[in-house]
């Protein structure tokens, strides 16, 4: 097991370098714009611009700049924001908790709704459950989350005025849990709907596959109740592919909830990213991208380990394919 973890972490190292290289090259495709963005009017003359570029280290060869930047990233220094002058790491730090609350709530709801629904749909393939499951799946795949956001705001905030349309807290109600929940329900519901489809589909196909196996027939034959067969045997085996699905869709889920954050004015990493793209705040964009990609990478490794703990059959040797 130790051997596997070491191997898995070492395998992730080139991916980490790949991520940093892509982010760095992307932001340095047009170095002039970085100086423009940082100067914003100050760099009107060529001399001032050269001074600014030297100050930002933009006069050095690109490989040197990459290595210098990478060294700073590795020590946890993501630089200062061109716009606010604050350390990027601190700006991101303030946004992590809201993002985790929103995405986490959405995914937990999706798991709580999607897994039982998927199991029921597999158990009774011609029933209403199955129709509900496939309907929800199709809807979840085809409706863009921003459209769902608009409809949610239109119906539940404007027409019914049940929930607020924006923000995380009402002004002046700082830290009130009920207030947070009221703000959380609509955006989290959209995030939940976005990841529900995949979850329901994978659970259904995994469970219905397991239900055809011999040992399930044996369990039924020895008189085990249908309910016990379903949840104790079938579901437990099917959990593994379901876990894989969640794991493979983390980047997708994060991307989706960034859009939701932006529309609901939720103060998370997504809102930060969109506002820094609009403001051409390159250090912040680089910082957010690296942090998100790193989070995906680390979650991937953790899920892989959990996955192998949950299913001793996979073993600690091969790859998850």
């Amino acid at each position: 097991m130790k051997h596997y973890i070491v191997k898995r972490v070492l395998g992730a190292v080139p991916v980490f370098f790949g991520i940093t290289l892509i982010v760095f090259l992307m932001m340095n495709l047009a170095p002039a714009t970085i100086a423009d963005a940082a100067g914003e009017g100050e760099a009107s003359s060529a001399a001032m611009r050269a001074a600014l570029e030297a100050n930002l280290g933009l006069d050095q060869p690109i490989l040197v700049r990459y290595i210098l930047w990478l060294k700073e990233v590795l020590t946890g220094d993501l630089g200062l924001s061109y716009r606010t002058g604050q350390p990027v790491l601190r700006m991101i730090g303030q946004r992590v908790a809201p993002s985790l609350i929103l995405t986490g709530t959405g995914v937990v709801w999706a798991v709580l709704l999607g897994i039982p629904l998927g199991v029921m749909a597999a158990w009774k393939p011609r029933s209403g459950w199955s129709k509900l499951a496939s309907g929800l799946t199709l809807f979840s795949f085809s409706a863009p989350s921003f459209f769902l956001c608009l409809i949610a705001i239109f119906v539940f905030s404007v027409k019914l005025s049940w929930f607020p349309a924006a923000g995380m807290y009402s002004s002046g109600a700082g830290g009130d849990l009920m207030d947070l929940l009221r703000h959380l329900i609509l955006p989290a519901a959209v995030v939940c709907l976005g990841s529900l489809g995949n979850l329901v589909r994978q659970t259904t196909s995994a469970v219905s596959e397991v239900l055809g196996e011999d040992y399930i027939r044996t369990a039924r034959a020895k008189g085990l109740g249908e309910w016990a067969v379903l949840w104790k045997h079938a579901f437990r085996t099917a959990l593994i592919p379901v876990l894989t699905t969640i794991l493979n869709h983390i980047p997708h889920i994060i991307g989706g909830s960034m859009v939701v954050e932006r529309i609901f004015g939720w103060p998370g990493m997504g809102s930060l990213l969109f506002s820094s793209v609009n403001g051409r705040d390159y250090t912040v964009i680089m910082g957010v991208t690296v942090v998100v990609a790193l989070a995906v990478l680390v979650t991937g490794i953790l899920m892989d380990i959990v996955y192998r703990l949950a299913d001793p059959g996979v073993g600690w040797g091969g790859d998850r394919e």
Binding site: P14, P144, S145, F147, P251, V277
Partner: protein
Amino acid sequence: MKKRTSPVLQRFWEDKLAAACLIFLGVEILLLLVLPLFLGQDPNVTDKTAGFWAPPGAEHLLGTDDVGRDILARLLYGGQISLLVGYLSAILGTLLGVPLGLLAGYKGGKWEYWIMRACDTFQSFPSLILVLCLVSLLGPSVWNIILVQGVLGWSSVARLVYGSTLSVKKKEYVEASRALGATDRAILFRTILPNVIAPVWAAFPMKVGRAILSESSLSFLGVGLRTPQASWGNLMQNALELITLTTRPWAWIPPGLCIVVTVLALLLVGEGLRKALNPKAGR
């Protein structure tokens, strides 16, 4: 390997729902191209007599927008752009992904290592972030969006092809053609490619759908296509203002429904293809 009527196509047309969706997608393209000619409204011209935000009526079937342009004309024009971006991005991603996946699976060794590590790297980013950053750097034009979404779309196709190439290359018929003296290139494209391409076909419609969804999200948020260019996402941008959201639903619900219906049809065609290509696995 030529057969008179392909059994795959035959199975596909037997699935009424998928067949209807495929026909719908074809008709949709035709309508988007032909209807503007009959409508006689320019999507980029302000109607000064109707003014801004005219409600739906005989002259403007879906009213006018914030600068007095006919919304229906923009809906049709935007639809052309949305579909163009969707289909071309998916084609580009597939054209890049298939050869890379084949190479990684067939050659093994260094090829496999580097291509698959690149795959891991690209797949550990939320693609929306990468598209967002690159499009804002390159400039938000239709071709840049297609280029970025297409190039970034290679990794999922490559992984799909890689997986099936690994299992196909051990088959006897590959050994046989090698024993008969076929070159690597002939084995790759004549023997392996036809046997690994099925899942790519099945995944293609959803790839188009994803590209449409991601373009429309970005354009909706003002970081993709900008006016006067139109796409279904960008048409809905006005709904970010509360007054449009609440009092002018005709301005934002139609493009939203267009996206949902189109992606749904693509999804069902993909399902139909998957079942037709792999009749044993489908339920």
